[in-house]
């Protein structure tokens, strides 16, 4: 039996079999610093997005500035993409350590070594899980049984927790590695890339990956972003995330007898689209900003929600439940917090970029408010109800 184990062990490579001097702590620490920064920004902007969906009492998020979610979520997806080349180079630089054998014998050494390996496995698993599922989610493919939003949030805490634990374990080594010069003065002859070349390559790859995808958030880079999930096109020059057909909203949206219901306690008012169009109209330029990282500015015309609330004798600063005619998919209703309802830029929009709202953008009417995640900008609205 011992002979068999020894024979297998002999065939598994050892760290010294990996000869590239560019691997090792000096590369790992520097790439790790950049990767840790990306992961940190990605975590904080992701947490912010979570708060935008479910604003906690201690952090009321208001409608100012209108572009805030656009920036935070664009940065979230961009730093996630930037992290992909960095994590691959980081793992490459430490890969030989996967094959190290325990130096000491005994149960304690096995347990300590096992725990260290388990913590690294958890870190690698959680970070790769976040990057892979995030990248798949933005192309709207969901090949899993878990809820993406809830699990992406939970594993984010595991990833950052494992990262901090890893840093705590490796801090002395990281300090030594970062204080050591990138290259040795008398570097031994090697026909592979130098550490500097690998670091430069990792940074360039990260920047290039962002440049080639970020145009869905940064308008002037749209042409350069040949791998962007969205090219910015769609009906009326604005991308669509869910069509009327996919949401099962066509029948309700095209019903000629459509009326919008406004309700405040016992007081209820019904308005046809023609009556809505006869009310004072306001025009604002506001972005649609999606959790998937894309965003685009558009010119919206419609009735201020505050003006509609006045028709049912409600304070403009009321919490409003918005319900959609959609029959399929999540977010068929949303809650408009009082700060948003009172903002004169929060519209029940009837027009987009000077034309009647396209059915895929929410015809006959939709909510558009400043600084809100796209899924909460409810389309095909059938009722607004004051809840408090």
């Amino acid at each position: 039996m011992k002979d068999i184990v020894a024979a297998i062990d002999e065939r598994i490579p050892r760290p010294n079999d990996f000869t590239s001097p560019a691997r090792g702590p000096r590369t790992a620490a520097r790439v790790g610093l950049a990767l840790g920064t990306c992961v940190g920004i990605c975590f904080l902007t992701g947490l912010w997005s979570h708060f935008q969906y479910e604003s906690p009492g201690w952090l009321p998020i208001g409608p100012h500035p209108a572009w805030l979610y656009r920036v935070t979520q664009g940065v979230h997806v961009a730093t996630g993409i930037a992290a992909i080349p960095l994590v691959l180079v980081k793992l490459w630089s430490v890969y030989p350590r996967l094959f190290r054998r325990p130096r000491k014998r005994g149960i304690r050494a096995v347990v300590v070594g096992g725990l260290e390996r388990a913590s690294v496995a958890l870190l690698v698993g959680a970070v790769l899980f976040q990057l892979v599922t995030g990248a798949i989610n933005i192309v709207q493919w969901y090949p899993w049984s878990f809820s993406f939003r809830a699990t992406h949030e939970a594993v984010a805490f595991v990833a950052v927790g494992a990262l901090l634990t890893h840093l705590a374990m490796k801090l002395p080594l990281v300090r030594i590695a970062l204080r050591s010069p990138v290259e040795d003065r008398l570097s031994r002859a090697s026909d592979g890339p130098s550490r500097r070349a690998v670091l430069l390559g990792a940074g360039s790859a990260s920047a290039l990956a962002v440049l080639l995808t970020v145009g869905q958030t940064v308008p002037f880079l749209r042409r350069a972003s040949v791998f962007g999930v969205r090219d910015g096109n769609g009906p009326q020059d604005l991308p669509v995330n869910r069509t009327a057909r996919a949401a099962g909203a066509i029948e309700g949206a095209t019903d000629p007898t459509f009326t919008l219901e406004l309700r405040h306690g016992d007081r209820a008012v019904r308005l046809t689209r023609a009556k809505l169009a006869a009310l004072p109209q306001r025009t604002h330029r506001l972005p649609i900003a999606c959790v998937e990282g894309w965003s685009r500015n558009a010119t919206w015309t419609g009735v201020a929600v505050g003006d509609l609330l006045a028709l049912v004798d409600a304070d403009p600063a009321s919490v409003v439940r918005v319900r959609s005619m959609q029959t399929r998919g999540a977010f068929s209703s949303s809650e408009l917090p009082a700060d948003f309802a009172a903002d004169p830029r929060t519209l029940l929009a009837l027009q987009l970029n000077g034309e009647t709202l396209d059915i895929d953008h929410g015809y006959p009417c939709r909510i558009i408010a400043p600084n809100r995640p796209g899924v909460l900008q409810t389309k095909w609205v059938k009722s607004l109800e004051v809840t408090t």
């Binding site: 790769l128 192309v139 809830a150 634990t165 070349a197 096109n233």
Partner: protein
């Protein structure tokens, strides 16, 4: 530094516990799917991707002239990691029928152009380095 390490470690463990607690209400199906993806991505890297890169390195060491190996390695790094960073749009998965807003670009053509550009830059860089070596007599 010891105090900083203990604080970092404690904060880290708290993060892991909090994350685990957040999914603790999930049913068996969801947890199984989460575990499958957590383990799957590690195996995909450690048992497939990294060994493939090692094999490519061994083959390159046998076929690429010594002077050009560093340039070839950096070009491969750039090409490979950028390709994986955009694999989501290249893979052909995702999107929905009737959705013109999503995944509507010629991604494979763009990737071929990127590949050609990287090969061209690598060849030119290798030629320039060779010329410089000759001038300096290195």
């Amino acid at each position: 530094m010891k105090a900083a390490r203990i604080a970092l470690g404690a904060l880290g463990v708290a993060g892991i516990v909090w994350g685990a607690w957040l999914v603790s209400d999930d049913g068996f199906d969801k947890l199984q799917s989460t575990a499958l993806w957590l383990v799957g991505v590690v195996l995909l890297h450690d048992a497939v991707l990294a060994p493939v890169v090692v094999v490519i390195g061994v083959l390159a060491a046998r076929t690429v002239p010594r002077d050009h190996r560093a340039v070839a390695a950096v070009a491969f790094l750039l090409w490979g990691t950028v390709t994986l960073a955009v694999a989501n749009v290249l893979s052909g998965v995702g999107g929905k029928p009737g959705m013109d807003s999503l995944l509507h670009r010629p991604y494979v053509g763009a990737w071929l152009a990127l590949t050609a550009a990287m090969v061209a830059v690598a060849v030119v860089s290798a030629a320039m380095m060779k010329g410089r070596h000759r001038e300096t007599g290195a």
